[in-house]
């Protein structure tokens, strides 16, 4: 009888499908993965240690570089903590502007996520379309704060500055065009039989597991747990805005993808409301 052997296979740190520098050591028997050891730390930059020797304001730029796709949201997380510590109240106008940029950033994040997902499945086109829209959002952000990716825009007590001239028009144009674009992506991906074959029933994460592991965001909502921190434990001005938490019960990769697609629509809706309310005379702080 022929004998089979288990063997170790490195995947990463420089591998087309490990985005970022992640390394797996797979123990495999033939084609079956028996065990996975994850080796982390290739991108350990000692940010916590740096934070010890920086003032609060000095540290905000570092938060941009934590999750470098959604810099605005990271800015907000840090700023919120500082504001709560120092007891600063933020004007409503600034809060709406923050919500606006954060939701646009969420769209960017989801676009990159879906694009990379499809790229890993072997379809290179989606990421290019996704980056086209990402570029539009980044143009908006650039007119706000002068940077494409590392914004440093949300500061304790508000934002860096008011919106520039012409920003509203550009933003409205984007909000008007984007639903059609998302529809295009849905057409490209959702009706594709191979996408269903690759994504349905893959990466099952049961609701219990998801809660036990402390999973959040679209992953949790893709597992059928309707928990959205913007809704259930609202911060900023989210409780004044009308939106719904998108949930799917299937628990697989496809469900998470659909949640992301739906959330893009919701984000657009929120951003639209935030933009409108910002100009409401009674709300201007």
């Amino acid at each position: 009888m022929a004998r089979t052997e288990e063997y170790q296979l490195n995947v990463g740190p420089v591998h087309p499908s490990t985005h970022g520098v992640l390394r797996f050591v797979l123990t495999m028997d033939g084609e079956t993965i028996k065990d996975t050891e994850m080796v982390l730390g290739q991108l350990h930059r000692g940010i916590e240690k740096i934070a010890e020797s920086r003032s609060y304001l000095q540290f905000i730029p570092y938060t941009d570089r934590l999750d470098y796709i959604s810099g605005m949201t990271n800015n907000y997380g840090f700023t919120k903590a500082v504001e709560d510590l120092a007891g600063i109240t933020v004007p409503k106008k600034a809060e709406y502007l923050r919500v606006f940029v954060m939701e646009l950033n969420r769209i960017v994040n989801h676009l990159v996520c879906i694009g990379s997902l499809l790229l890993d499945l072997g379809a290179a086109t989606m990421i290019i379309y996704g980056f086209r829209e990402r570029h539009k959002v980044l143009d908006l952000f650039e007119s706000l704060c002068g940077a494409r990716m590392t914004f440093n825009y949300i500061r304790p007590g508000g934002v860096r500055g008011d919106i520039p001239e012409g920003f509203i028009d550009n933003a409205k144009e984007f909000l008007r065009d984007m639903p059609k674009r998302i529809g295009d992506y849905a057409q490209l991906i959702n009706d594709n039989e191979i996408v269903h074959m690759r994504m349905k029933g893959v990466g099952m994460l049961s609701p219990e597991d998801a809660i036990n592991y402390g999973v959040t965001g679209p992953m949790l909502r893709g597992s059928g747990v309707s928990y959205d921190i913007r809704k259930d434990d609202p911060y900023s001005v989210y409780e004044e805005l009308d939106f719904k938490a998108c949930t799917r019960p299937e628990c697989d990769t496809y469900a998470r993808y659909i949640v992301r697609m739906d959330e893009m629509y919701e984000s657009l809706y929120i951003a639209e409301q935030a933009l409108k309310r910002r100009w409401h005379p009674t709300l201007q702080g």
């Binding site: 089979t4 052997e5 296979l9 490195n10 740190p13 591998h15 033939g30 084609e31 079956t32």
Partner: protein, 110 residues
């Protein structure tokens, strides 16, 4: 003849390449590439039998197809009886295929 020309073409190109290319071998360079890591264990390892099952099944069907070609060429001369005979033969093979599928021999991972 084309074989010779083809092989000659490959040789000429490789020779040309040998003439013009730089060469700077080093120890690390001639190690194998595994995502920038040192490879763990031996690279020649004993495998799961699964790969060979496909090869065997392929062999059976390949031979069958070789039988079917002469049959197909002379089909019009042979008439209906040849059709029945061939499909008795193919039927046996199909039963074999069903058996393989049932036994999960044609399953990529076990």
């Amino acid at each position: 003849m084309l074989t010779f020309v083809g092989v000659a073409f490959v040789f000429i190109a490789l020779f040309l390449s040998r003439v013009v290319r730089p060469s700077a071998p080093s120890d690390v360079k001639s190690e194998i590439y595994e995502c920038g890591e040192v490879t763990i264990g031996d690279t020649k390892f004993y495998h799961n039998l699964q790969y060979y099952m496909y090869a065997i099944a392929f062999l059976i069907f390949d031979v069958e197809m070789a039988f079917m070609y002469p049959w197909a060429v002379h089909f019009r001369n042979l008439g209906f009886i040849a059709f029945v005979e061939m499909f008795i033969f193919v039927g046996i093979l199909v039963i074999g295929l069903i058996y393989l599928v049932k036994k999960e021999a044609l399953k990529w991972t076990q």
